[in-house]
C-alpha cells in the first residue's frame, strides 16, 4: 500500500484557485482527514487524486510512481461521493458489483466469486437484506453504506471518502461516526476522509489537515489541531461553541494584559509573559475557548472580572452562557446543564491562562 505524495499541486477553475501549491506526504495505511469549511477545496483534492480533475501544475506520486498521466480507470483508487452517486438503474447488488465487472478487471472474477464478495461486503455493512432494492428505495444512511460497499469491494490501494456523513440526519450522524471507528479497522488501506465537521475529524483521524481556500493551514494530530491551532482560522473552526477572540495589549507598567473592548485587565504567568516578550509584539489577539473560561457567582481575587449574564442555553451535555463584559460579548460553556443562572445576574470571570491562545495581530499565527 502506497504512501501518497503531492508536490506543488495547483488546481484552478478559471480565475479561482481551488488548490494552492499543495505539498503533502500521506503515510501508508494512515487514516488521513481533511477538514475545512465548504469551498475549501476538499472535494477538488479528492478528485485530483482520483484523476477526475487534472492539476494545472505539480506531481502526484503513489508509492514513488508518478501518476499524473494515468487515466482514472487505471488508478487503483476508490471514491465515495458526497451525494453517493449510485447508479440509479442498477440494484444494490449491481452497484456494489460494478467495479468487479469493469473492463479493468475483465476476466478476473467469475460470477460466483462476484456474488460471494458482494455478499460478504454487504453483510459487513449490514445491508445484505437490501441487495435487490434500487437506490431510489433506500434511505440516506443505507445509500451511504452501498456507496461504501462499492468502494471497498475492489480492495483499493487508496480509499477516498468525500464527506460521507454530510447528508445524514443529525441524530444518526453521531451514531454513524462512532460506528465508523469499527469500520475503520476493516478498511486495511490508506484512507483519505474529508469533512467540514471538526468532531468527525478529531474523532476519526490519525492526522488532520486543515484546508481553507485551497491552502494548507495546519497538519497534525487531533490533539495538536485542537489544543495548538496554528492560526485563527483553525482555532475558529475546531471546537464548539466558537472560540472567543478579543484584542489585548501588554501594559508595560505592571505586565498585565489589558483588553480595550471590555475595559478589563488580567495577569498571566511569568512563563507566558517571557514567551510574549520574546515574540516581541505588544498587541495580540487572544483566543479563549468557552470551556476554558471559568466563573464564579461571587467576587474574589481569582474571579475578578465583572460580567453580566445574558441568554443561557441548556443543551444535552453543556450549559452555554452568553455574557457581556461592558460591550464585549463572550461565550462560556460548562459541563453542568442543570445550573440555573438568571439573566442580568453578575458573574465574575477568570481566564485559565495555560489554555489561552495568543495570535499575532497581523499574521493571525499562533505565538506558542
Amino acid at each position: 500500500m502506497p504512501k501518497i505524495s503531492l508536490k506543488n499541486i495547483t488546481k484552478k477553475f478559471g480565475k479561482v484557485i481551488a488548490l494552492n501549491d499543495l505539498k503533502i506526504d500521506i503515510k501508508d495505511g494512515e487514516f488521513f482527514v481533511i477538514l475545512g469549511p465548504s469551498g475549501a477545496g476538499k472535494t477538488t483534492f479528492l478528485k485530483v487524486l482520483a484523476g477526475l480533475e487534472s492539476p494545472e501544475s505539480g506531481e502526484i506520486y503513489f508509492d514513488e510512481d508518478l501518476i499524473n498521466n494515468i487515466p482514472t480507470p487505471k488508478r487503483d483508487v476508490a471514491l465515495t461521493f458526497e451525494n453517493y452517486s449510485l447508479y440509479p438503474n442498477f440494484t444494490v447488488f449491481g452497484n456494489i458489483a460494478s467495479p468487479l465487472k469493469s473492463p479493468a478487471n475483465k476476466g478476473k472474477y467469475d460470477s460466483g466469486k462476484i456474488r460471494e464478495r458482494v455478499y460478504n461486503i454487504a453483510k459487513m455493512l449490514n445491508i445484505d437484506q437490501l441487495l435487490d432494492r434500487l437506490p431510489s428505495e433506500l434511505s440516506g444512511g443505507q445509500k451511504q453504506r452501498v456507496a461504501l460497499g462499492r468502494a471497498l469491494i475492489k480492495e483499493p490501494k487508496i480509499l477516498l471518502l468525500d464527506e460521507p456523513l454530510a447528508h445524514v440526519d443529525a441524530k444518526i450522524r453521531n451514531q454513524l461516526r462512532t460506528e465508523f471507528h469499527f469500520l475503520k479497522e476493516k478498511f486495511k488501506t490508506t484512507t483519505i476522509y474529508t469533512s467540514h465537521d471538526y468532531k468527525e475529524a478529531i474523532s476519526l483521524g490519525d492526522r488532520i489537515m486543515f484546508l481553507d481556500k485551497g491552502k494548507i493551514q495546519q497538519i497534525g494530530s487531533p490533539e495538536e489541531v485542537y489544543n495548538f491551532p496554528k492560526n485563527i482560522v483553525v482555532a475558529k473552526n475546531v471546537g464548539w461553541p466558537d472560540i472567543n477572540l478579543f484584542k489585548c495589549y501588554i501594559k508595560p507598567e505592571n505586565n498585565n494584559l489589558y483588553c480595550p473592548e471590555g475595559d478589563f485587565a488580567f495577569n498571566v504567568s511569568g512563563k507566558i509573559l517571557k514567551l510574549l516578550k520574546k515574540y516581541g509584539e505588544m498587541e495580540y489577539i487572544i483566543g479563549a475557548r468557552p470551556h476554558n473560561i471559568s466563573f464564579s457567582e461571587e467576587h474574589s481575587d481569582k474571579y475578578n472580572i465583572e460580567a453580566v449574564c445574558g441568554v443561557t442555553e441548556a443543551l444535552d451535555n453543556q450549559l452555554i452562557i452568553n455574557v457581556k463584559i461592558k460591550n464585549m460579548d463572550l461565550i462560556l460553556s460548562i459541563d453542568n446543564p442543570d445550573l440555573y443562572l438568571r439573566k442580568d445576574q453578575k458573574l465574575w470571570i477568570h481566564f485559565n491562562d495555560q489554555s489561552l491562545m495568543f495570535f499575532d495581530k497581523k499574521t493571525s499565527k499562533n505565538v506558542k
Binding site: 469549511p37 441524530k171 451514531q175 461553541p241 470551556h291 442555553e313 444535552d316 446543564p337
Partner: protein, 370 residues
C-alpha cells in the same frame, strides 16, 4: 394563565385504509410568554397540532382555546396566531418589505403604523439592510429571518414555528435559534416550536412536549424529561449520545436488589425503594436505562457504585470524550471529560449514582418509580 389550551383534542383523517388518527387525546397548555417545544419523529402529529392551532386543519373532537376564547370554528384570520412555515412560503415576486407589509395592509392599518412595525421587527431580526431586495435573491438564512419577521410583524398572541431552522446553513443555525430565544425574552412573545431535532428542542424550549404516534408522551422542563422520563421512548429520544438501555434479570442478593445484565458480567445495584417496587410488581426482568453522561471515570462521591468494562472505542471530541465499552456481550456508552491517558482495550472501573438509574417495565415500557 394559559394562552393556548387544547382539551382532549382528536384529529382524524379518512383514508382508503379507514380512519387514521393524526392526533389522539391531546391535552396541552402553552402559558403566556412561554416557549414550548413540541418534539417528535416525523409523522408523530406535532405539525398537525400546530396547524390545528393556526386553524388550517379542522378539529375532529375536543376543544381549542386561544386567549380563553373557544376557537374551534374561528377562521385562521380571526385567530390571533402567526405561523412560520418550514419552507418559508414567502411571496417570491415581492420584496422583503412588501412581504411584511402585505398582511398589515390587509388588516387596514394606518401607513405610518405599518412603517413603524416593519422597522421595529426588521431591526429585531437584523434584516434592515435587505428590506428592498426580492426574496429570490436571498440566502436560506435570510429567507428564514424574513419568514419569521413576516409572522412577527402581525403581533400575534402566539407564534407558531414549524421546523424553522432545518433548512438553514449549519453555520447560521445557532444564531437564528439564539435570536428566537431573544424575541421571546425581550418581547414576551409566546412561542410554540415544532422540531424533530432534540438538541434544538432542549435549547429553545422552557418546556418540551415529546410526541409519538399521535400522542403526547410527556411534557416538562428539560430537567424533568432528562431525569424522569415516563417511558423508554422519551428516555431514548432525548439526549445525545442516547441513553444506554440494557435488558436485566432481577436478582435479590443479601437483601439488596441487583440487576444483572443479560449475557454480560455487568451488575447494577438499585436503590432499596425501587427494589421493593420491583418486588411488588413481581418482575423478573426489567429494562435498565443509564445515560452516558451519568457514568463517570472517576469516583465523585462515596455513595457511588461501580461497574467494569473494556474500552472498545475512544472518540476524542475536543471538549469531551465519548467512549464505547464492553462488559461481556453488552456494549455501553460513556460521555466524559477529556483524559488522554485512556487507551483502547484498557479495562476501566466506572462509577454511577443509583438515583440516576432508570427502570422500565419490559412489556409496557413505562418507567418504574417508587
Amino acid at each position: 394563565m394559559a394562552l393556548v389550551s387544547l382539551k382532549n383534542v382528536y384529529k382524524y383523517y379518512r383514508s382508503k385504509k379507514g380512519k387514521v388518527e393524526a392526533v389522539k387525546n391531546l391535552n396541552l397548555e402553552v402559558r403566556d410568554k412561554e416557549t414550548v417545544a413540541l418534539l417528535g419523529p416525523s409523522g408523530c402529529g406535532k405539525t398537525t397540532t400546530l396547524r390545528i392551532i393556526a386553524g388550517i386543519e379542522e378539529i375532529s373532537r375536543g376543544e381549542l382555546y386561544i386567549d380563553n376564547i373557544l376557537s374551534n370554528n374561528l377562521a385562521p384570520a380571526q385567530r390571533n396566531t402567526a405561523l412560520a412555515f418550514e419552507d418559508y412560503a414567502l411571496y417570491f415576486h415581492l420584496t422583503v418589505r412588501e412581504n411584511m407589509e402585505l398582511c398589515l395592509r390587509a388588516k387596514k392599518l394606518k401607513p405610518d403604523l405599518i412603517k413603524k412595525k416593519v422597522k421595529d421587527v426588521s431591526e429585531m431580526l437584523g434584516i434592515e439592510d435587505i428590506l428592498d431586495l426580492r426574496t429570490t435573491a436571498l440566502s436560506g438564512g435570510q429567507q428564514q429571518r424574513v419568514s419569521l419577521a413576516r409572522a412577527l410583524v402581525r403581533d400575534p398572541s402566539i407564534f407558531l414555528l414549524d421546523e424553522p431552522i432545518s433548512h438553514i446553513e449549519i453555520e447560521r443555525r445557532y444564531q437564528i435559534l439564539a435570536r428566537i430565544k431573544e424575541i421571546n425574552y425581550e418581547f414576551g412573545t409566546t412561542i410554540l416550536y415544532v422540531t424533530h431535532n432534540q438538541a434544538e428542542a432542549i435549547a429553545v424550549g422552557k418546556r418540551i412536549g415529546v410526541m409519538n404516534f399521535a400522542e403526547l408522551q410527556q411534557i416538562g422542563t428539560r430537567d424533568e424529561i432528562f431525569n424522569n422520563p415516563v417511558n423508554i421512548f422519551v428516555a431514548s429520544f432525548v439526549g445525545q449520545p442516547p441513553i444506554n438501555l440494557m435488558k436485566c434479570k432481577v436478582i435479590s442478593e443479601k437483601g439488596a436488589t441487583n440487576l444483572k445484565v443479560k449475557n454480560s458480567s455487568l451488575k447494577f445495584i438499585t436503590e432499596a425503594k425501587i427494589g421493593k417496587e420491583l418486588h411488588k410488581l413481581n418482575l423478573e426482568e426489567v429494562i435498565l436505562g443509564l445515560r452516558p453522561q451519568n457514568i463517570y471515570i472517576r469516583k465523585v462521591s462515596d455513595k457511588q457504585k461501580s461497574i467494569k468494562g473494556k474500552i472498545e472505542i475512544i472518540e476524542f471530541l475536543g471538549e469531551d470524550m465519548h467512549l464505547v465499552l464492553r462488559g461481556g456481550d453488552c456494549k455501553f456508552s460513556v460521555y466524559c471529560s477529556v483524559d488522554m491517558r485512556l487507551k483502547k482495550d484498557k479495562e476501566l472501573e466506572l462509577f454511577y449514582d443509583q438515583s440516576k438509574l432508570h427502570l422500565f417495565h419490559p412489556k409496557t415500557e413505562k418507567a418504574i418509580n417508587a
